[in-house]
Assembly symmetry: C2
Homo-oligomer: 342 residues x 2
DNA sequence: AGATATATTCGAAGCGGTTCGCTTCCACGG
DNA sequence: CCGTGGAAGCGAACCGCTTCGAATATATCT
């Protein structure tokens, strides 16, 4: 492999000149520049990442901590990842993948300067990785809002608001008994921030609206779903409106309801909180609050980059949700769409 | 950050000694070693990845090229990725993520020595990235088998065999008219190797068995599926046995068939070629040939690592498929056969 | 003209490791 | 008692790039 020195010789200049041609940090005369570029081209030179990292103290690599566990939402994760990688490239950064459970990994890549910054997904309320990460003195952005961010910046979808507008939508349609089918038990138990927020938003909005409500977790399998539906819909709760925040469940929903002799939306209205593609690639498109995974991933990288050079205050950004009505929600049976019924 | 020099001073030895303690490439007396380790501990020293990469000419990073397009199978991809990352860690390697469409990325990370080796997923028959990658003189393994591997090693699931045993299973059950519902048109058109092989395996086995057969692509939406089923099952083809290789379709299958008044398995038997989790997390578990994504990912990394130090011949490895009968296949209507016959 | 800017380029000192060759010390055999 | 060999540690030469200060040359100002 040709080195910068080889290029310098070939172009009849010093290495520093080559370096400045490449970095543009000092002005170089057009003639010199073109000679250098010609030499680079001729030798097929490309800079050595390690050497550059050593000298400049920047690796041009961003770490991305992704959850590869079973109980998360694969396609949302993929969308995040795609957004992060794409955006990172716009900043000349590559992306190093770390897994959730590799706790030492975060410490390793930061302390060894493998990465210049970090994006961490799937934050839980009291996340043990956060104090660790905060110590490392590298720019980092959390996707999700923990109880204590330890001075790190966060970005997230406003799941509480998503839940609230879902409730309001159902209430506006005249539903008086509603229910939330949430993430798998595991997500709730580890207090994934999205799971907690969806639930609290749901309960808060329901209370405000003065409707009957209940909520529960649900695993991503037909049996669990059937049981949940039996409890919430056909059981004593008798909910006529459902908010579902569980992507893996969506494909099973229609099927399972049908087996229970329940029609959508005649017997039960359903609002999904899910990525757009899940909401629309179903036999019938769901009324849904879309999770803009791409925007969030992009913004996360932007926030990291903003903090890479200049010191910058930590901030929390929430992405505002919007509900799109499709065909799975209608006015409650026996309700006039406008007036509250008691 | 403490450097190796700081450690050396604190321990009262030379830097080379510290280096040898860390790498174990030369013998160091127990006393010296423990002093050095104590100093490392006390100073919280950790080696600088860039410096190490420069001096040793190894970055300890593996590149992984993943498809982030829409028409691939997200959950399989995730399983691969998880397997690759986990296995890489066992070799002290981190994983750098590259996307399919970032063609320059492959060249960049190899020529700049950002990575020590590469794993590339979602290979197509005449993949333009392959000659490029072959030139780069870094160990690389393709997941998928292209027409011309240019001297690179490949690993893949034996999709042709998977298809063949699916056909044989149906034939053994007495089905005489069978059909294949394959990947989306886009996958076929770009000649993703798995799509091609599934189809040719299907046709070959069908011909051998002397049964009527047909096959077609199908997009991952209910309308497309309904149309495919109309053509293959209720239409003139009148297939009673179906092989489905399209993960995204599986959740819609049951639903769509029901709407067409078709029962599984009474009216039509179905074999899925899909990852285990997709096959079993359905309202009814599918008879299926599982795609062992994890094994393949792991092996891919192992193959790269094997080629990292020693020169080693290129090879093609195929993972042998196995069919698990569950509840979606039974003897053909009006056939005397009650089970697989050999 | 002499002095002060301005535009380019060079040289050298790092950045923080790895590794090779050499020295030192000590035990052991003849 | 000397020679030999192995164990342990040291020093210095890189690895390839960035960056700062200085040098040179040309342009501008008074």
């Amino acid at each position: 492999m040709a080195t910068m020195n080889d290029v310098a010789k070939a172009a009849g200049v010093s290495t520093s000149t080559v370096s400045y041609v490449l970095s543009g940090k000092r002005t170089i005369s057009p003639e010199t520049k073109s000679q250098v570029l010609a030499a680079i081209d001729k030798l097929g030179y490309s800079p050595h990442a390690g050497a550059r990292a050593l000298a400049s103290n920047r690796s041009n690599v961003l770490g991305l901590v992704v959850p590869l566990r079973e109980d998360v939402n694969v396609s949302v994760v993929m969308q995040f990842v795609a957004a992060v990688v794409t955006t990172a490239r716009n900043f000349q950064q590559d992306v190093l993948l770390l897994t959730q459970d590799d706790l030492g990994g975060i410490e390793r890549v930061t302390s060894q300067s493998v990465v210049d910054g970090l994006v961490m997904m799937d934050i839980v309320a009291r996340d043990p990785r956060i104090p660790l990460l905060a110590k490392m003195n590298k720019p980092a952005v959390l996707i999700g809002v923990p109880d204590d961010a330890h001075g790190l910046s966060c970005i997230d979808f406003d799941f509480a608001a998503a839940s609230r507008i879902s409730v309001r939508h159902l209430v506006d349609l005249g539903h008086r008994r509603i229910a939330l089918i949430g993430s798998p038990q595991a997500s709730l138990e580890r207090h994934a921030t999205y799971a907690d927020r969806v639930r609290s938003g749901f309960e808060e909005a329901s209370r405000t609206a003065g409707v009957e409500f209940s909520s529960r977790a649900c695993e991503a399998n037909p049996t669990a779903l059937a049981e949940a539906l039996r409890e919430l819909v056909t059981g004593p709760q008798g909910a006529t409106g459902l908010v579902v925040h569980n992507e893996a469940l969506m494909p099973l929903m229609r099927d399972t309801l049908a087996e229970m002799q329940l029609r959508i939306p005649e017997d039960v209205s359903v609002v999904a909180i899910a990525p757009t593609d899940v909401a629309v690639s179903s036999t019938v498109p769901w009324t849904a609050v879309s999770i803009p995974a791409h925007d969030i991933g992009r913004t996360a990288v932007e926030m990291v980059m903003e903090r890479m050079h200049e010191q910058r205050a930590a901030e929390v950004r929430l992405v505002v949700p919007a509900l799109v009505q499709r065909s799975t929600t209608v006015a409650a049976p026996g309700s006039s769409k406008s007036g509250p019924v008691h």
